[in-house]
Each structure stands twice: as C-alpha cells, then as structure tokens.
Symmetry: C2
Subunit: 273 residues, 2 copies
C-alpha cells in the first residue's frame, strides 16, 4: 500500500490533519536525554489523540549525540504505538550511495516518512523515493518552505516567469507519479509553507497527487483558515504541522484539538464532494 | 583566527589541496561499526600524509545508528590528531533553533567545518555561520554541486539571465563577508563541483573570498587540470575532494600523492604571484 494511501486512511480514521512537531527546544527542555524523552512522551500522550502524525525534528535529537539518537527512535516508536504516523524531519539531501545510506539510516520502522531537500536535483530525490516505495514509506520534498528567508532563493523568478519553487514542484510531481496509490495520493509529498498561502492553489495544481506537509501555522504566523486550496483535490491532501503552539501551550491537548477542529471543518468545506 | 586563515595555513604547511573523502561504502566495508572504524583509520594512515583535510560523509555513519555516531567522532579525532582539517559532510539545512541545534550537534571539535544546504535561504545559512564564527570554525554552503542531476534545479536560468546557482553564490558571498580573515579567505566557503568547470571562473569572481570545496574529481569524472580558475585569487582558494578514487584505490597513498602533486603544480601556476 502506497504511503499516500496510508496517510489518506489515517486522516479519515483520526478525523485530523494535525501533525504535532516534536521540537524539544533545549532552552525549554534542557540537555538531558531522559528529560527530552519524557517531554516528547508527554506531548504524545497529551496532544496525540487530536493528531494524525508526529514530526520529530532530527536536529534536537542529534545535538544530544548517540544517546539522542536512541531517544529519537524510542519516541518515534511510542508515537507509532499510539496510532500516529511518524514523519521524521531531517531534510536530508545527497546523491547516489550517500543518499541511499541516509535512507537506510532514517527511513525505517518506526519512521513512516522522511523530509528531503531536493536542491541537488532528481538524483538527490530518487534514491529516497525508490527506497520508500519498496517499503511502502513516504518522502516529503521541500518545495516552498515557511521561513522568512524562504523567498531569498526559492522565489527567484525564472526566465519563463515561474518562481524557482514551481520548477521544484514539477520535478517532485514527476518523480512522485510512480508512487500514486489507490487513494489518488502519492507516497511522494511536498513541504509547502502556510506562511505564503498565495502559492498554495498553484502548487496544488502543479502537484495534484502530492500530499502536502504544511509547516508554519501558529508560532510562525500562518493562518489555518488560509489553507483551503491545499484540500481542493483530496480531503487528505494536506497535513498541517504545529510545534511550539502545541507543545509549549499551557494545555497542549486543547491546542491540538482546537487546530484539529478548525482544519477538519475547513477540509470538509474545501474538498471535492 | 578565521577558519579561512586556518585553511590557508594548512594548505601551505602541507603543500596539499587534497581532501580525502571518508565514504565507507557498505557494499565494500560492510555493516560492522568496528570494521568501518578500522577502514577509516587505515585510510587516514595511508593517504593522510598527502592530504590537507578529511571529509567524513555523515550518511555512512548515521546508517550504523548510535554506534556509527561514535565511530564518526572517533575517526574525526584521529584525523585531527594526524594534523588534518576535518570537514564533516552532512549537508544540513534548516532554520532558527533547529539550525542552531544542528550546528551544536555537528560543528564542534574535532570537526573544523560543516557542509550546509542553502536552499531555504539566508536564515538557513546564518545560524551555522554565526555558530562557526564564534568558534573559529567553517561552513561550506552548496552552490553548484557535482552530481549528474545538479543542473535540474541549480542551473535553471533566472529572468536576469543568471543561472540560479549564481544567486546562491551571491548570497554565500554576502553572508561570508563578516568571516573574512587576514589571509583574505572567509570562514564561509562554497561547494563547487569539478564536473562543470565552465562555471568555476564566474563563481570565483562572484565569491572572491570563499574557499571552494571541490568534489567530483576521480570517480565522478572531473579533471584536476580543469580547476585552475579556482586558484585565481588565492593559492589556498580551493581544496579538492576525492573519495572512491583514493580510498578504494589499490594504493591509496600513491593515489593521494599523485593528486596532491598535480594540484600543487596547478595552483602554483594559477595563483596570483
């Protein structure tokens, strides 16, 4: 079963588009691997029931060295055991045997999908998507990110009038064709930020089968109510990440549930009937 | 002392531009962490004397899990102890606290410099360069890579006629200004592949202070004798990576020494007198 199908089923079963980002910021959680583990398990227990997926941010675990590596896998397993899809946010990008080694390192149980950086071109994406497809796992390639500086390079205008990120979108759609499942969603998705919603409709047209992983709501300023175009082809066409606005909220359960309800209503209204 | 100065001194002292890539390909070295460690230590002992730096490829160590993480640091320390500069090839790219966490994780002793992916823009590069500058360490940002698919996205032509990678070069040069040392070289360098030497001269003009990390000679087909323009501003303006063509050569010491001699002659001829 394609990861696109897995994601579509999970969204329907949990009636949620919410991905909770596991970003154990050292300024708040500290440097002790056990404290990081407890913090993440606490987030999964509190916010998990309102979510469809978790997104561990690899950087926060890598900084703890070999012990952090183990914590990342333990936390991912706990999320999987709680019925959540696990999207590891590691943004790897390399080619050939090196890319295959990254895929072996990171795109394995309990991780269901991995974020990758496509700057180096098709041969920096295909080793990941081939590895993923053989194992019914998923890949989310960066297309148009949510950070303030995203426009520096991703929005530069090409000689045919398109912003550069639309060329990335075309490459991702092409590579993802081979991974489209029965649901109509591909196992190859795209990271599309909530902070530039003016691009969402066009990117949805360019990538009709790609599930979108949308960061940038909450602390980064993106508004959930602007995300309707992401659901225009398929109700499970997007999952939406929030990190700080859930995990450091006074009540993470309520923060996740509020976002779940907003997005679930929005996707019902925006999806094809 | 800026990393640019560190690199300039090391090139002069060792009379070498050669970076040996530590790419313990699992098809040749296997999956045992101790075997990987022994292999890398053997490469350092054999080829190290002809080199100025080593470049461990993070993917090959990450695939071994927490044990691989420890091997990567042990091998890096051994290279440092042998007088080599350590450039960790991890191609990380992220923003804000996540980027700072990657920098904490990876840009620390015995590692001297880290490769980063600038696709997400200035705010995906500056957390690394700030961290590096405070510690006299270096960063090499991908600008124009050496893989066959590099042209897919990096060479797309902008509406002002420049290829996209020249805009990346401009951003890297701008960010690197604050890190230029007494040698004239910055602690912020650029990855520029040997397989498209037609770009080298222009990229040297756009990034006059950036040390280039040049992959792609040897197994990938780039020719050392085409790299003259990289040395046009400073004799230590480029270090040249070779991985498979040294580490899997019948005689790694000879392979490294031959490349060293070729490049040292070339840089003498090409550098300003």
């Amino acid at each position: 079963m394609s990861f696109g199908d897995t994601l579509a089923r999970a969204v329907a079963a949990r009636q949620s588009h919410v991905v909770v980002g596991l970003d154990p910021d050292p300024r708040k959680v500290g440097d002790d691997p056990d404290a990081v583990r407890r913090f993440c398990l606490g987030v999964i227990a509190a916010a998990g029931p309102a979510c469809v997926a978790v997104k561990p941010q690899s950087a926060y675990f890598e900084r703890l060295g070999a012990a952090g590596w183990d914590v990342m896998w333990d936390v991912s397993q706990a999320a999987r055991d709680a019925g959540l899809v696990v999207i590891l946010d590691a943004k790897r990008g390399d080619i050939d045997v090196s890319a295959a080694a990254y895929a072996q390192a990171l795109l394995r149980d309990p991780v269901d999908a991995l974020t990758v950086n496509p700057m180096m071109g098709g041969d920096a994406v295909r080793p990941f998507t081939m590895h993923a497809r053989e194992r019914d796992k998923g890949v989310f390639a960066l297309v148009r990110t949510s950070n303030p500086g995203a426009g520096d390079l991703e929005d530069l205008v090409l000689d045919d009038g398109r912003p550069w990120h639309e060329a990335v979108a075309g490459l991702v759609a092409l590579i993802g064709e081979a991974s489209v499942g029965e649901s109509g969603l591909s196992g190859v998705g795209a990271v599309v930020g909530a902070t530039a919603p003016q691009h969402l409709g066009r990117l949805r047209d360019l990538m009709p089968h790609q599930p979108f992983l949308i960061p940038g709501v909450g602390a980064q300023g993106g508004r959930p109510e602007d995300l309707g175009p992401a659901f225009a082809r398929h109700r499970a066409g997007a999952v939406v990440n929030a990190s700080r606005s859930i995990i450091f909220a006074p009540d993470p359960r309520k923060a996740a549930e509020d976002l779940r309800a907003t997005l679930w209503t929005l996707s019902e209204r925006s999806a094809p009937s």
